[in-house]
Point group: C2
Chain length 102, copies 2
């Protein structure tokens, strides 16, 4: 999960995921959308793969990437879930202590 958020921290990588949402793309096709070198893109792909956000398959000389949407969903919803309303009782548990001695 940490690796997912690390991966999402970079705007280029977030954009790659968005592009992949439209369907699988080759490394070259993805790289065409950015103003950075191929090796730099390769490094971004490696980060996305390490986070398990994309899968890759070699097809001839090309490498096709596809989005692993469920992994992205699980991370996003999983984290968001930590902030969901857990009972509408009081606004705060163990509220701010002033530290003043009684």
């Amino acid at each position: 999960m940490n690796s997912v958020f690390k991966a999402l921290a970079d705007p280029t990588r977030r954009r790659v995921l968005e592009l992949l949402r439209e369907g699988p793309r080759t490394a070259g096709q993805l790289a065409d959308n950015f103003a950075v070198s191929k090796p730099t893109m390769s490094a971004h792909f490696a980060v996305l793969k390490a986070a398990d956000l994309v899968a890759s398959e070699k097809l001839g000389k090309q490498v096709v990437f596809r989005l692993k949407l469920s992994v992205l969903e699980d991370a996003l919803l999983g984290f968001a879930g930590l902030f969901a309303d857990r009972g509408t009782s009081a606004a705060s548990t163990t509220p701010v202590e002033t530290g003043d001695p009684a």
Copy 2:
């Protein structure tokens, strides 16, 4: 939005947000939950503030932080929204081009 994802990239900062979900806390109370120095925590708070994920108010010698849940929600849901199903037509627009000359 970029600053939000940058802020979320660090596990300490994510945990701070989780703690703040329970209600406002002082810098010291938050710091008590981590094994790093106060100045380091101060730097983390600054990142969270820059991302507008928390607000702070000075109360005597203490500083009280509170979670800006709507900002977190907007970023998370906003990004997640980019991946929502947009019509169940075909699986892919502009599919993978092999690059083979016709």
